[in-house]
Symmetry: C2
Subunit: 435 residues, 2 copies
Amino acid sequence: MGSSISEIITRDVRFPTSRGLYGSDAMNPAPDYSLAYVVVRTDEGLEGSGFTFTIGRGTDLVVAAVDALAEPLLGRDAVTLTADMGAAWRLVTGDSQLRWLGPEKGVVHLATAALVNALWDLKARAAGRPLWKLLADMSPEELVACVPFQYLSDAITPEWATDLLAGRRAGREEREREMRERGVPAYTTSTGWLGYPDEKVRRLADAAVRDGWRSVKMKVGGDPADDERRAAILREVIGADRRLMMDANQVWDVGEAIGRMERLAQFDPYWIEEPTSPDDVLGHAAVARAVAPIRVATGEHAHNRVIFKQLMQANAIGVCQLDACRLGGVNEVLAVLLLAARFGVPVCPHAGGVGLCELVQHLAVFDYVAVGADLDGRLVEYVDDLHEHFIDPVSMRDGRYLAPTAPGYSAAMRPESLAAHEYPGGAVWRGVVAG
Amino acid sequence: MGSSISEIITRDVRFPTSRGLYGSDAMNPAPDYSLAYVVVRTDEGLEGSGFTFTIGRGTDLVVAAVDALAEPLLGRDAVTLTADMGAAWRLVTGDSQLRWLGPEKGVVHLATAALVNALWDLKARAAGRPLWKLLADMSPEELVACVPFQYLSDAITPEWATDLLAGRRAGREEREREMRERGVPAYTTSTGWLGYPDEKVRRLADAAVRDGWRSVKMKVGGDPADDERRAAILREVIGADRRLMMDANQVWDVGEAIGRMERLAQFDPYWIEEPTSPDDVLGHAAVARAVAPIRVATGEHAHNRVIFKQLMQANAIGVCQLDACRLGGVNEVLAVLLLAARFGVPVCPHAGGVGLCELVQHLAVFDYVAVGADLDGRLVEYVDDLHEHFIDPVSMRDGRYLAPTAPGYSAAMRPESLAAHEYPGGAVWRGVVAG
C-alpha cells in the first residue's frame, strides 16, 4: 500500500512587477518576480508545494528542469521517500548527465531547490507541523543524515555537526517559546529601490520609521552622486540609531567597490551587500578587509555550499545571506547553517521577491532554535508585497516574523493567484503577451 | 540591404556513447556525448555554426536556453553585429532576467557559449579565415574590445592587455609557420577510461606508445587499489620518460584528494586533474600546496572568468584547462587566455567529448601565436573519436594538432550526422527511445 507519488505538476508563474519599477536595482532594472512552482501529489491525497524564485524570462527553463528532475520520483512511495530526506536529496541530484549542466549551479540547481522544497513541504504537512518545528524535533543524528557533506569535510564533518546540534538542545523550549511569542527580527527593503525618486524614498523611509522598523536597506551602485544623495536622505530620516544597509547587486569590480564604499562610509552603513561578482570569494575577502568595520554581506547568488564554505574560510563575509531556493533546497540550507555556526557568521537570509519571506522565516526560526541559538546580528530580510498570493502568508509584528504555525513550508499558493499569474495564459498576462 | 539574420536553428544532438562505457569516469559513469547545436543564418546565405557540449539528458534545456538568448539577434545585420564582437557578447549576455538564472553559469551560460561561438564562426567564414587566424590578425585594440573585463580589474586591465598583445607581435609570423607545419602538442585520453578492464587499458596504452604519444591520461577516483593497479600498468607500458596524467573528475573532498595523491605519487603523475569540486578555489589551492611538485589542473567545469581569476590569484592551478563551451564562448576564452598569460599558467584546453577538439585547436594555436607565445607545458587534450561527424575535422600528426586551414571555427557538423543523431527523432535514437 502506501502513498505513491502519482503526479508532479509544474507551473510557470510570473508577476508583472516591472510595471512599477518595484524591485529595481543596479543590476536588475526591470524584474518580473516569478516562480517555477511545483506540486508533488500522491494517490492518497498527500501534497507538497515548492518553488524557486526567478525574475521573468527563463522561468520556463527552470520549470522544464524540474520536470526532468522529477521523473525518478514518480511512482515512489512518498512516506518512504521522505522518511530519509538525505537519500531523497541524493535521488534528485544524482543524475550525472543533468549534473554536467552545473554542477550544482544555474538552472538545474534552481530546479533542484523547487523540487526538494516540495518534498520537505509534503513531509511537514504529513507530520502536521510547520517545517521549522519538524526540523527542530529531529534528533541531531536525523538532521545530520539530511546534510550533503560532500566537499565540506575540510570545514565541517558529520561528527562535529552531531556534537554541535546535541549541545544546542539545552534551552530549546525557551527559544521555541520566544519565537512563537516575539519572532525573529527583520529589516525592510521596501524603501530604497533604485528606480524610486527621492520623494518616494523619503516618504517610504518615513513610513518605515513610523511602522517601527529598526533597520532599512537601500540600493546603491548607480551614479555615485545619486547614491550619496539618497543615502543622505535615508540617514536623515531614520536617524543615527537605526541601521542602514546598502546593496550594490554585483555591479562593481573589487577596486571600485572599495573606492565607492570609502565615499559611502560617511552614512555609517551596517553592511554592504553583493559588492561584486557572487563567484568572487577572494574579491569579497579583499573588500571585507578594506571596508571594515562595515560588514560584507552576500549569498542570494551564492549557488551552493562550496561557495559559502570558502566565503567563510576566507573571512570574506560578516553576514550570511543564504537563499532558500538558490541553494538546493532545505538539505543544502542545513549544510550552510552548520557552516555559519562553525565560523561564527550570523545568518540573515535573503528574502523579498515573491514567496521568499514565506520560506526563510522557517529557516531563521529553526536556526535560532537548534543551530545558531543566538539572535545577535540576525536580521531576516522583509519586503511587504505579494504575500496575499500564499495560503499561509507570513505574520509580522513589531518588525519581526512570528514563528509560522500552519503545517508545511508555507510554500502553497492560492489557486486563484496561481491561475491568474500563470505565464503566458493567466489573466494578468493574456493581453500583454498577445499584444 | 546588408545581411540580416533571418533564422537561428537549434538542434538537440546526442551520441549513444554510454553503450560502450566510452567516456566513463568516477563522476560520470555513463555519458551520452551530446551537443546543443545552433546555426545562425542570414538572408544572403552567410552561416555560422556553434555548439556547447553536454552528456545526454538536459541537452534539451540548453537548446531551449539558446532559443531564448537568440531572440534579440533575429533581424539584425550580421556583418554589423559581428564587426563589434564585444557588443555582440554584451547583447547575448545582457538580458538581466536570464542573467538571474546564473549569473554566468549553468544552462544559460552553456547556451551563451553555443550562440557566441556560432557568431564567431560566422565572422570567420565571412572573412574566409580559420578562427585562430582571424583572431591573430586582429590588432591588440580590436582584441581587447572583445574581452569582458568586468570583475577582472583587480588582476588584468584593458591597458595591460593591450600592451601584452602588442609586445607579443614580435615573432608572430615565425610562430604561425610553426603551427601550420608542426602544430600544437597534444596528449591522449583514449587509454584509461574508468570503465575499461585492465587488459583493454594495457592494449590501448601500448597502441598509444606505438602511435608516438608522449603523454597519456588515466581516470582515477574509483577504488584506491584499482587506481593503483591501473596506474602501475600504464606506467609500466609507457615507461619513465612519458607523461602520465591523472583525472579524478571531482569525486574527492580536499583531504581525501591529498591522501589519495600521496599513494599515487609513486607513479610520478604529471598532474592531478579535477581533484575536488570545481567551485572550490581554496580547496584546489590546499591540494596544490600539498601535492607539489605534482601540478593541479582544472577548468572544464570552471564556469566563468571569475573562477579562473581566483584559481590563478590563489596559486591553485599549475595547468589551465579552459573549455571552449563552458566559458561563454570565444570572448570569455580570450579573457582567460590573458589571465593565464598574466599569471604564467600554461593553457591546456579541455577537449574530447564530441567536437571539443575541433574548437580548442583554434584557441591553442591562437594562444601560441598571439598571447602565451610559448609551448612550454602546453598540451591540448585529444580523444580519437567522433571527428567523422564534422565537416572540417581535426588533422593530427605525430601527436600534434596541425593548425586548421578551413574558414570558420570548425564547428559545423555533417548534415547526415546531424540528421541521424538528432534526439529523439534521429535514426540512432528512434528504436531506443520508443523502446
